[in-house]
């Protein structure tokens, strides 16, 4: 193996340092013939070493120093990508619209109940609504709204000959789309004479004050 390597080295030396027509040229001339090969190779090695020993560490140190700023820039870019001003405006508009569906304060449930009473009366039913007191821990901390509850009793007005259909018509108007009023219970009873009475429970969404 050692001899093979030696022979290979000698062959390479012979080829790379060949002086045409002068196989036994002196070493000095052979070395001069080698120069055109040695110069670029040495230059490449020096360039590589310079790059590895000087340039690369310097660049790395600068990059490390600027790393927090780069991270900040990246964070800003990510935040920009995550949303847009249009999207924010649209979300705000939707939130405002949703907010208008809720009662701004619990006291205003009286207004809602009065309105329901009027609607029922217009539909041929006499309604009596009563707001129930809101429980102390009525809402969780992470929810933006809570519900106020109320119950009511409905009896048909005198002269209401279509009690059942008018009740259905009233119930259909019970939950308007622009107000968070939901029927949670309905109990309808009819006696032997066919007189109907209804009891309802409802909930009204109320905004948690910020």
């Amino acid at each position: 193996m050692k001899n093979k390597l030696r022979n290979l080295g000698l062959a390479c030396w012979q080829i790379l340092t060949e002086v045409p027509g002068w196989p036994d040229a002196p070493r000095q001339l052979r070395l001069r013939r080698l120069l055109p090969i040695v110069v670029p190779v040495a230059a490449m090695i020096l360039l590589f070493l310079w790059n590895q020993a000087w340039t690369h560490p310097r660049i790395q140190s600068v990059r490390t120093a600027y790393q927090p700023l780069l991270a900040l820039e990246q964070e800003v870019a990510d935040l920009r990508l995550a949303g847009s001003d249009d999207k924010a405006a649209e979300a705000a508009s939707r939130a405002a619209e949703a907010g208008r569906m809720l009662l701004p304060e619990p006291k205003q449930i009286v207004t809602v109940l009065n309105e329901l009473t009027r609607t029922a009366l217009a539909g041929g039913w006499e309604a009596t609504f009563q707001a129930l007191p809101a429980p102390a821990a009525s809402h969780a901390a992470d929810t933006p709204l809570y519900f106020l509850t109320a119950r009511g009793k409905l009896v048909p007005s005198a002269g209401n000959t279509h009690a059942f259909s008018s009740l259905l018509a009233f119930l259909a108007q019970f939950s308007p789309p622009n107000r968070s009023v939901d029927l949670t219970r309905l109990a309808v009873r009819a006696d032997e004479q066919g007189r109907q009475t209804a009891e309802v429970s409802l909930r009204v969404g109320c905004r948690i004050p910020e």
């Binding site: 045409p20 360039l47 924010a88 009819a190």
Partner: protein
């Protein structure tokens, strides 16, 4: 700069060094180092002094062109001729005897000046005592086997005599045997000779044995095709004898160490022997003998006397310059060239070295280019980093604003979703209306309850009523009602335990039978 230019420059420098500090072991004119073809580099510096002569080389006339220089060096006589497109332009013959390379070097510049040669391509027709020729008969092998056989034979020869340049020339094939002629030239001689020529920008591309131009001349002899003839040519102080068939293969060749002009009778005896050998060995008698000499008329008579009256002896006035012209007409790729193999190896070495050179410089160029681009990229990156540093405050403000914006967006969306998705659908009214529509004739509801169970997230219902029908009909009607409700969009599921059907007591005698029912269950519609 070509290799030759570079080597010339190196040699000139070496010569200058030699002049300044003469070698202890050699004369200035004889490059001992070149006489040795060893390639052991370990002893180069010590054993191989600079081989150049001190004498300053005369400048070459004119510029480089594609002319070809032919040298005929035949047993001490040296002739040169310059050819342009195979046509001789000038010729020169050395008036003195030239035996060694050193003597050749002494006169070569005169020859170059005389023939006004300005090219580089040079061929040499050689015949001297160091140039050996061995005739042999070998079995008719396959080409590869023949090559192996010859290589082993050459290796044996080189072991005894040192490295040689060699070439095999096939002769006639008879009785399943191939006659060949091996030409050996010591490599040291070639190197020494080549060195002398290289210094003068002469690129020696062909070394031809004399037999090559003589065969060319033989084929031009005005005799019938395949006629066996013998050619005797004057080569300095010797005579070459070649036997062959016109337009066919050569039979043999030999060199007689006798001058055709001075010892014609001895040459005649040897030619006669060749005639007899030809007749006996090749079974074809040569019909004529052709004398190729500058002045062969007197010798022809002597040969005629020795060879017998039946043989035709013809003198062809011919000189080595004529043979040079014949050699010049041969293709440069013709196979009987001692340098073909050596030049091939040399070209391979030069190709490898050139490849390494190109790769090294190309690699360096690519590396520099790569680093240059990397440096540019880094410069841009650095500028960006500096700009980033300047914008740090703005970036932080941006980040805070965007975070706030995105948080607000998320909060708003969540709020809007919460409010809208938390609405309860008007299930009680829908179910009441739906049940009222599906109630069969004769049935009426007495009590109807629907309640939202916030914990379970379902609606539960329970309704009671009565139906005027017998038990079986009532069951069928109630089952049908249940089925309709189960298939409805409200996705009603009844509690099996909650279904009750009982006969109501008759209040009025004779009144129709009334069945009371009670149904309860849940709705999966939120």
């Amino acid at each position: 700069m070509s290799d030759q230019d570079e080597i010339s420059r190196l040699l000139a420098e070496a010569a200058a060094q030699t002049e300044a500090a003469p070698s202890r072991n050699q004369s200035s004119d004889t490059p001992v180092g070149l006489a040795s073809a060893t390639t052991d580099t370990s002893s180069d510096a010590e054993e191989t002094p600079a081989p150049a002569t001190i004498r300053k080389l005369p400048p070459r006339t004119g510029g480089r062109n594609s002319d070809v220089l032919g040298l005929a060096w035949l047993n001490g006589s040296l002739h040169a001729a310059a050819f342009r497109r195979q046509k001789m332009t000038h010729s020169w013959s050395c008036p003195t005897s030239v035996r060694t390379v050193a003597e050749l070097e002494a006169v070569i510049d005169d020859a170059l000046a005389s023939v006004e040669f300005a090219g580089t391509d040079t061929f040499l027709v050689l015949e001297n005592e160091v140039f050996a020729h061995q005739a042999d008969d070998i079995p008719v092998f396959a080409e590869s086997a023949q090559r192996t056989y010859l290589k082993s034979r050459i290796q044996r020869h080189e072991k005894e005599n040192g490295p040689v340049l060699w070439v095999m020339q096939p002769l006639i094939t008879m009785h399943q045997k191939q006659s060949i002629l091996l030409h050996f030239l010591p490599k040291s001689f070639y190197v020494e000779l080549h060195h002398v020529l290289l210094k003068r920008h002469l690129d020696l591309t062909r070394i031809l044995p004399l037999i090559v131009p003589l065969q060319y001349e033989l084929n031009r002899i005005p005799a019938g095709k395949n006629t066996t003839v013998i050619v005797a040519a004057e080569i300095g102080t010797s005579t070459a004898v070649v036997a062959g068939r016109v337009g066919g293969p050569l039979l043999f060749s030999r060199t007689i160490l006798a001058d055709l002009n001075r010892e014609p009778s001895r040459v005649g005896v040897e030619v006669n022997r060749s005639l007899l050998y030809t007749k006996q060995h090749f079974e074809s008698a040569a019909s004529s003998v052709w004398l190729m000499a500058q002045n062969g008329v007197s010798a022809a008579a002597e040969l005629q006397a020795k060879c017998g009256a039946g043989k035709k002896v013809v003198a062809l006035p011919s000189t080595p310059v004529d043979w040079l012209q014949s050699a010049a007409k041969l293709s440069p790729q013709q196979p009987i060239n001692l340098l073909s193999r050596y030049l091939k190896a040399k070209r391979r070495t030069q190709f490898i070295r050139g490849g390494v050179l190109i790769i090294a410089w190309l690699g360096l160029a690519l590396m520099i280019s790569g680093y240059f681009h990397a440096a540019n990229a880094w410069r841009n990156e650095r500028a960006q980093l500096t700009s980033l540093h300047d914008r740090e405050t703005a970036l932080r403000a941006d980040r805070d604003r965007l975070e706030q914006r995105n948080r607000a967006t998320e909060r708003d969306l969540a709020f809007a979703n919460h409010v809208t998705t938390d609405r309860l659908p008007p299930v009680p009214a829908s179910l009441l209306g739906f049940v009222a529509k599906l109630l069969p004739e004769g049935a009426r509801l007495v009590e109807f309850n629907v309640r939202w169970d916030a914990e379970a997230g379902t609606w539960s219902f329970q309704f009671n009523g009565s139906i005027e029908a017998d038990d079986e009909t009532a069951r069928t009607l109630i089952a049908s009602l249940q089925d309709e409700l189960a298939k409805s969009p409200l996705r009603v599921r009844f509690n099996e335990n909650g279904r009750v059907l009982m006969v109501a007591p008759l209040v009025t005698p004779g009144a129709p039978e009334v069945q009371r029912f009670s149904l309860e269950g849940v709705l999966f519609e939120k």
